[in-house]
Amino acid sequence: MAFLKILASIQDALSRIGFVLAASVLAIISAAYCYEVVSRYFFNSPTIWASPLVSYSLCVTIFLALPDLARRGEHISIDLHESWLSSKTIKILKRATNFVAAAFCFAAAWITAEQAWSEFVAGVMTNSYVPIPKWWVFIFIPFGFLNGGAFFMRQTFGELPQTHEEAVL
């Protein structure tokens, strides 16, 4: 049990760090495109790296943020049934949907990890002006789904989501 608690606290820390990194990458996206506009229109010198950097960064941002969103229970969902059902039924339903969410996040993690592995083995490069090994970006997708799935699994057993105060970074 103590080992599981340590694992859970490591995962919590990892998700928080991932979220901060996602916000930092978003700042990089903004700076890169501002630089591109200024460079192109004021110095007639468009960059070749801004567009690919932004594309790769967007993927990194989404999937680095996913685990922390799952930790905070902040996903877009429909909760109209909560005003019609008893609190006991809502609890059971929440556990069931969290379990389903965990199962399909794990499935997506496995599917995307397998693809990332095959991209790595085949040495596939991205199709852009600045090609990089595709798995460098791809790897963030299974990371996000795996960690997100783990948080949904923890919520299935009633541990999460945390209170708002705890959830705010």
Binding site: F19, A22, A23, S24, L26, A27, I29, S30, A31, A32, Y33, C34, E36, V37, Y41, S51, V54, S55, Y56, S57, L58, C59, T61, I62, F63, A65, L66, L69, E74, H75, I76, S77, I78, D79, L80, H81, E82, L93, K94, A96, T97, V100, A101, F104, C105, A107, A108, I111, T112, E114, Q115, A116, S118, T126, K134, V137, F138, I141, L169
Partner: protein, 439 residues
């Protein structure tokens, strides 16, 4: 034909059951797509699924989504809103029902800055509604103007929903963003006229002018000057797109830089404010983009089973006039949104692959049609009984009953529906500005 309908019905059934049960929307799509890929292609199709997620997550036009959200967050936290409210308050002048006018104009401006109807309904519900009711304004009309005003937000550029719709529909993001301008102004005018007419017949809906003494004093020129810095951001973003200087994503990035400068100008810039804005931007945009990443495969599966061809043939067999077909195409998402609780983004993924060939077949202006679809998706948010924005408003007003909110929202639902017919009859309202941009 029957097998296609059964397949789509089963897929939609699984999706609706999961979503109605409270599963996150992106999980609903992950589930349907995993099962669908396994059913149609076996495990060999999983590479296709993985690549659809990767391709969507690396679509650079979608970077405009987090950037517009960060821009809105920066403007909300920087003191810009207070400056705008103060200016509008002075500009509206001494007319009966001035707070209704202020509420509608403020919603329009908030829409230009944030683009999220639920957020604006919640914000104005908590702040403006209690103040107006306390001053003697009619609670129902006040709630209605807030709901109607909030529903302008996804229409008036820059709109996050328009960026998503343009990406899914593969039309020009810049043109679809700009196309929202005409309908947005039309709706503001319609709301103002409606409030004016209501007050004309029933002056008791607003307090006497003499009782409203807390109006901000100051010159009109001063008020206009005070608005210029905030308007600069709007024209920076939309001007760059319209003049062809920058793509919508680049313009959004410049908007973020401009919003930081504006925050500095208003004295609201700080490390914590920047951090909170970027955190909020990441949270909201990741939630939306995760749905997109998970849902793209659903559109591809719908295309794979032959739904677009089937519906295309159906339209040819039924042989309805173009306008009747378009009316039905716009009515379907409205009812799906209301009765199946389907999220706007989810609706786009389900319907657009089916609609695109029909639009091409009828040679319909796609910017015009998708602007109408955007308005339809928006009006669903305030339509009783299950509009999302109504619930956001209810959470902001715990003492109001849902019946009161339904009563408040209906006139604005009809006004927005009326605007759809007007824009349908006069496409130039939506297409004039985008056409100025050239090809």
């Amino acid at each position: 034909m029957i097998s296609i309908i059964v397949t789509i019905g089963v897929a939609l059934g699984i999706l609706v059951v999961l979503l109605a049960g409270g599963a996150p929307v992106f999980v609903g799509f992950l589930a349907v797509n995993t099962i669908g890929v396994l059913y149609f292609f076996g495990p060999n199709g999983f590479g296709l699924f993985a690549n659809s997620i990767f391709t969507t997550a690396t679509t650079d036009t979608l970077s405009a989504v987090p950037l517009f959200i960060v821009m809105g967050e920066l403007l909300f936290r920087s003191g810009t809103m207070e400056a705008l409210f103060d200016s509008l308050d002075r500009l509206v002048g001494r007319v009966r029902g001035r707070q209704y006018i202020l509420c509608i104009l403020l919603s329009g401006i908030l829409g230009a800055l944030s683009g999220a109807a639920m957020a604006v309904a919640g914000l104005l519900g908590r702040s403006l509604y209690p103040a107006m009711v306390k001053r003697g304004y009619d609670p129902t009309l006040t709630a209605g103007t807030i709901l109607g005003g909030a529903s302008l937000d996804p229409i008036i550029p820059p709109s996050v929903l328009a960026v998503i719709l343009a990406t899914v529909a593969q039309v020009s993001t810049g043109k679809l963003l700009i196309a929202g301008m005409g309908p947005g102004i039309l709706l503001i005018v319609m709301f103002l006229v409606y409030v004016g007419v209501k007050l004309w017949f029933n002056p008791g809906l607003a307090p006497e002018l003499a009782t409203e003494e807390d109006r901000k004093k100051g010159s009109i020129i001063g008020a206009v000057l005070q608005m210029i810095p905030a308007c600069f951001i709007f024209f920076l973003v939309m001007g760059l797109v319209m003049l062809g200087i920058a793509t919508p994503t680049e313009a959004a990035a410049c908007g973020v830089a401009g919003a930081i400068l504006l925050a500095y100008y208003y004295g609201g810039l700080s490390v914590s404010m920047l951090r909170d804005s970027f955190y909020a931007g990441v949270t909201v945009s990741a939630l939306l983009l995760l749905i997109m990443c998970s849902a793209v495969m659903f559109s591809q599966l719908i295309t794979f089973v032959g739904a677009p061809q089937l519906f295309g043939e159906l339209v040819q067999v039924v042989n309805l006039p173009v306008y009747a077909t378009i009316f039905i195409m716009l009515a379907i998402p409205f009812f799906l949104h209301i009765f199946l609780f389907l999220d706007q983004v989810a609706l786009f993924f389900i319907l657009i692959p089916i609609y695109k060939p029909i639009l091409v077949n009828f040679n319909v202006d796609q910017i015009w049609f998708f602007t109408l679809l955007l308005i339809v998706a928006t009006v669903g948010g305030i339509t009783p009984p299950f509009g999302y924005t109504l619930f956001a408003m209810k959470s902001a007003l715990p003492n109001s009953s849902m019946t009161d909110l339904y009563k408040a929202s209906w006139p604005f639902v009809w006004l927005i529906t009326g605007s759809i017919f007007i824009i349908g009859a006069i496409p130039g309202i939506a297409t004039w500005l985008p056409n100025l941009m050239g090809p």
